[in-house]
């Protein structure tokens, strides 16, 4: 029953009246992959997931699952399991009945349902709660129940819509790790929607970054982190995100606040650019860009410095034990290969 789980979106457009929620989305998901749809709220990632699930129909474009056009196939017949942000547990059923529901709908004999339910509950560690109703469970337990209901059926696709967003910070980290292990052990294709770039970075094999109804970049978390495609992505990925500083490019150098920095990035002639600098890529060194330390956020093992470089705010991450004091003036620089260039007009990478 469980197929491949290969997904293709072809020019998917979704209109809500005049408003374009999705403006032609294309991507492919390989079988067995953990694929994240990442973006800020309202960027179209949840709409994409709902179209993939068959809960909403696209205005235009085609959805292919395992090379079969399912654009007009009902959600029932797509063989997809989903974990909702709200968990969407059936409130009148016990945990066991909730987990058993998809199997009963598939008309499995009772003798097979009971062990399958136990097995799924054990995988997410709620086998001691089988007789409770959802109302008697904590948020984390409800979330596990929703997970168990999704994995019990062994569908070919496993969709997760911000499943961790209603959990507290500690539980979120624990569950995140378990989720990854679970997906690996099941070997199922998972599509994961989140607005939390850290979640996407840690969980996903590959991810698609959504910005206002479009995908701006698809790649592994490392690729997206190392080479963000646009100013918007650069400002979204990383914690704290990349510093984006207006500058001037003059054959092989960028000039920031009157200081020249060498760069390996190249562009034609002499022009205005936006320079992207990761906070972690900045170094303190003699003869660099002068900056005053405005504020220090000490995170324990590292610290984030808010720097004022002649009126431009730059954030820098430094290792512990190497921290200047607030009000000090320091000199910073970056390696040529760590300098990213963006076009201020198109907002794309140069």
């Amino acid at each position: 029953m469980s197929g491949q789980g290969q997904v293709s979106f072809r020019n998917i457009v979704k209109m809500h009246g005049e408003f374009a929620a999705l403006k032609g989305v294309n991507f492919d998901i390989k079988p067995g992959e953990f694929f994240a749809l990442l973006g800020p709220s309202g960027s179209g990632k949840s709409t994409t997931l709902r179209i993939l699930a068959g809960l909403d129909a696209p205005t235009a474009g085609r959805v292919l699952i395992d090379d079969k056009d399912v654009t007009s196939t009902d959600a029932r017949d797509r063989d997809i399991a989903m974990v909702f942000q709200s968990y969407a547990l059936y409130p009148h059923m016990t945990v066991a009945e909730n987990i058993a529901f998809p199997l009963e709908m598939a008309k499995l004999p009772k003798s097979e349902i009971a062990p399958a339910v136990k097995d799924a509950a054990r995988k997410v560690k709620i086998d001691h709660l089988l007789h409770r109703k959802p109302g008697q469970l904590s948020g984390g337990q409800q979330q596990r129940c929703a997970l168990a209901r999704a994995i019990v059926r062994k569908a070919r696709l496993f969709l997760l819509d911000e499943p961790l967003s209603n959990l507290d910070a500690k539980l979120r980290l624990e569950t995140r790790a378990e989720l990854k292990k679970l997906q690996r052990s099941l070997g199922v294709t998972a599509v994961y929607v989140t607005h939390d770039q850290e979640e996407a970075m840690t969980l996903a094999d590959r991810m698609a970054v959504f910005m206002s109804g479009e995908i701006q970049q698809v790649g592994t978390p490392a690729e997206v982190f190392a080479r963000p495609n646009s100013i918007d992505i650069a400002g979204f990925i990383g914690n704290p995100p990349m510093n984006l500083v207006p500058a001037r490019y003059v054959d092989g150098d960028v000039i920031i606040a009157g200081h020249r920095l060498k760069t390996t990035a190249t562009t034609a002639g002499e022009r205005d650019v936006v320079v992207g600098l990761r906070p972690g890529a900045l170094r303190m060194a003699e003869g660099g860009l002068g900056a005053r330390v405005d504020l220090i956020e000490d995170l324990g093992d590292t610290a984030v410095l808010d720097l004022d470089c002649a009126g431009t705010m730059i954030r820098m991450r430094v290792a512990d034990g190497n921290i200047p004091g607030e009000g000090d003036t320091i000199s910073i620089t970056a390696r040529p290969q760590d300098i990213h260039l963006f076009d201020p007009a198109t907002r794309m990478r140069l």
Partner: protein, 311 residues
């Protein structure tokens, strides 16, 4: 003994504070009682007293046509009642009337609510129009149906029956048709109530569990059977309870349409008690019939409330 001493000592030591609180609470309670008293007394005078008086009367022979036979008879009225065939018939009519009208109201009301839920536009209008029968007086409804709808040749229902090739029927003259008619009238008037309650309840159900059920491959029927129905259960039981109470004690609509006739075909227990008391002027026996109706109502509502609590 020792423990008691300690306890009372503790109480004394805390006396000043708790004393103050107690006095305050007492005063407040008294004020509350004074505020409640008028309504409470009015209720006592208009409901409890007549009820007790009814039970008292049912132990007397009180025949306005033959006052010389009046007097205390104990449980004689009830003994007569138990062997009164007309009582049993009217009880059966009451049960059939109640059972069928409540069942129809719930089924039609639920079906309408499900249909209207899926309406994208005009829900508000539909609600307003649907509520109209409820705000009419049952006596008016009875008159409308007797004249406009069911009158032979001229009534709308009869007109439709003729055009449908069924021929003109004596809707209120034939015992079975008369029963069907009064059931239809009650259902027509009160289904909107069930519809409104169930629609409100349906609208409060979360959308996402239906989406989850679709992904879990439940068909529309399975979603209704396994999710909608169980989640609506409290509302449905509440509608059944409320409508059963009313149907058991229905009066005005039947009274104006058939007055219990033809013969005793539509004579529900309530109507029989009325006829006995105010047509035959046998107040004592009429009271016993009313008490019997009260007992039946209590038993049925007891069963329904137990059903509501179950599970």
């Amino acid at each position: 003994m020792a423990t008691t001493a300690v306890t009372s000592a503790e109480i004394t030591s805390e006396a000043p504070r708790s004393d103050f609180g107690r006095v305050l609470a007492q005063r407040e309670r008294r004020f509350a009682a004074a505020l409640l008293a008028p309504a409470f007394l009015a209720l006592l005078a208009t409901t409890t007293f007549p009820l007790l008086f009814l039970i008292y009367t049912s132990a007397f022979r009180m025949d306005l046509a033959m006052p010389f036979t009046n007097g205390f008879v104990g449980s004689e009225n009830y003994q007569v009642l138990l062997s009164d065939e007309r009582f049993w018939t009217s009880l059966l009519v009451s049960l059939v009337y109640t059972g069928s009208t409540v069942a129809l109201q719930v089924i039609i009301g639920l079906a309408l609510a499900l249909l209207v839920m899926d309406m994208k536009r005009g829900q508000g209008w539909f609600r307003v129009i649907a509520i109209l029968p409820v705000v009419l007086s049952p006596a008016v409804v009875g008159m409308i149906w007797r004249t406009f709808m069911l009158a032979p040749e001229f009534g709308i229902v009869d007109f439709l029956a003729i055009n449908a090739g069924l021929g003109s029927k004596n809707w209120l003259g034939d015992p079975t048709l008369a029963m069907v008619s009064v059931i239809a009238i009650h259902t027509w008037q009160w289904t909107p109530f069930a519809f409104m309650v169930l629609l409100a309840s349906l609208a409060s159900l979360p959308e996402d569990i239906y989406e989850a059920a679709r992904l879990d491959r439940a068909s529309a029927w399975q979603r209704f059977r396994r999710i909608t129905l169980p989640l609506l259960r409290p509302a449905i039981v509440m509608v059944i309870i409320m409508r059963t109470m009313v149907a058991l004690t229905a009066f005005a609509a039947i009274f104006t349409v058939t007055a219990g006739g033809p013969g005793t075909a539509t004579e529900i227990l309530n109507l029989y008690a009325y006829r006995k008391s105010f047509t035959e002027l046998s107040i004592g026996y009429g009271s016993a019939l009313a008490v019997a109706l009260l007992i039946v109502t209590i038993i049925i509502s007891g069963i329904l409330f137990a059903m509501r609590r179950a599970k």
